[in-house]
Symmetry: C2
Subunit: 195 residues, 2 copies
DNA sequence: CCAGCTATATATAATTA
DNA sequence: TTAATTATATATAGCTG
């Protein structure tokens, strides 16, 4: 079409090719639009020039058309991402199951699934943990005791509220880390409200 | 174009519309292909007729073109699925973190983050679990002992390998559930290879 | 609903500015 | 380059079978 018929093969002359590309692309989009208007069709055209530039034309939202296309054609457009996600899911689930199992063992359940050597190790772990918790509770109780004791001591001396300085030099004889205690006093009931 | 110029609006006559749709669609695809051949462009055309039928034409794999489109245009084609996945991920992660925290507490770590009442409960849980594990180990050891004892007994009587029946009627005097033991013998080293 | 036909409308290759 | 011009090639609306 034009002054002369042209062969249907790639146009060698770069300049001519560019000109033809622009003319024909514009026309293609126009025709696509006419199809949409005249025949009430949904049309999407995507063109990448040989220089990599993107041109697009759609009768409505390109996203909607491509989603419809994906649904109708069954083409999974995000297959790679999807499979990657599935893989990560599996990893998470496995990890979760392992943690669950471990927790159950730590609670003395499902012990049948453990070999004796693991049982041995589990018992050691549990006893160590129980000791740590016990120690921790003792420390907490000692602090509480120290706090009460200190209050009694100062009340006995008629000082009313204890100041920080008073606490540092208080005659409580044990080696508890009282300075730290002053900065962050143990307040059980405050913590309880958070759980 | 044709015998007479037509208005650029939807063709009312259903039959005419269908005929025009087919003619124009075919031509659109032809033009798309010419653009591809003449100008070395990548072209994809998607058309849905007003009856919902899908027609498509692409210079190469439609999937590849649409993926390229998605990349270049930044259009997230699977946004809904993607967001749903992200949501599930967050749930999994949260659950994992909770389990992790709980496990650490069960191992006597991070105890500072627990209020005293929880410490109390934790200690009870640990001690109960330790007791269960201890009991279980005792049962295991007793079974082992019974097994050895039984072997000694039968060797003393010159029977060689102990048969199942022999195990059931063996004169081991304790009340251990030996039948179960026979079905699933405790094999520590077999299990060890799996961990 | 398809396939031709044909008169016109469009598209466009080559050319010119 | 890019934009107009123009001679021709295509596309196609309305027919007919």
């Amino acid at each position: 079409m034009g002054r002369g018929k042209i062969e249907m093969k790639a146009i060698e002359n770069q300049c001519n090719r560019q000109v033809t590309f622009n003319k024909r692309r514009k026309c293609l989009f126009k025709k696509a639009n006419e199809l949409f208007v005249l025949c009430d069709a949904q049309v999407a055209v995507i063109v990448f020039s040989n220089t990599g530039k993107l041109f697009e034309n759609a009768s409505s939202s390109m996203k909607r058309i491509l989603e419809r296309y994906s649904t109708v054609s069954g083409l999974q457009l995000c297959q790679n991402e999807y499979e990657h996600m599935l893989c990560e899911f599996a990893t998470h689930r496995t990890e979760n199951e392992k943690l669950h199992d471990k927790l159950r063992h730590m609670q003395g359940e499902d012990l049948d699934s453990l070999p004796p050597s693991e049982l041995d190790h589990l018992q050691q772990t549990l006893e160590l943990a129980a000791r740590k918790v016990r120690d921790r509770r003792v420390v907490g109780l000692e602090r509480k005791w120290a706090f009460l004791n200190q209050g009694v001591y100062e009340n006995q001396n008629g000082y009313g509220q204890a100041s920080c300085e008073a606490a540092v030099v208080s005659p409580v004889g044990n080696a508890l880390p009282l300075p730290e205690f002053r900065v962050q006093p143990v307040q059980p009931n405050l913590h309880n409200t958070e759980y």
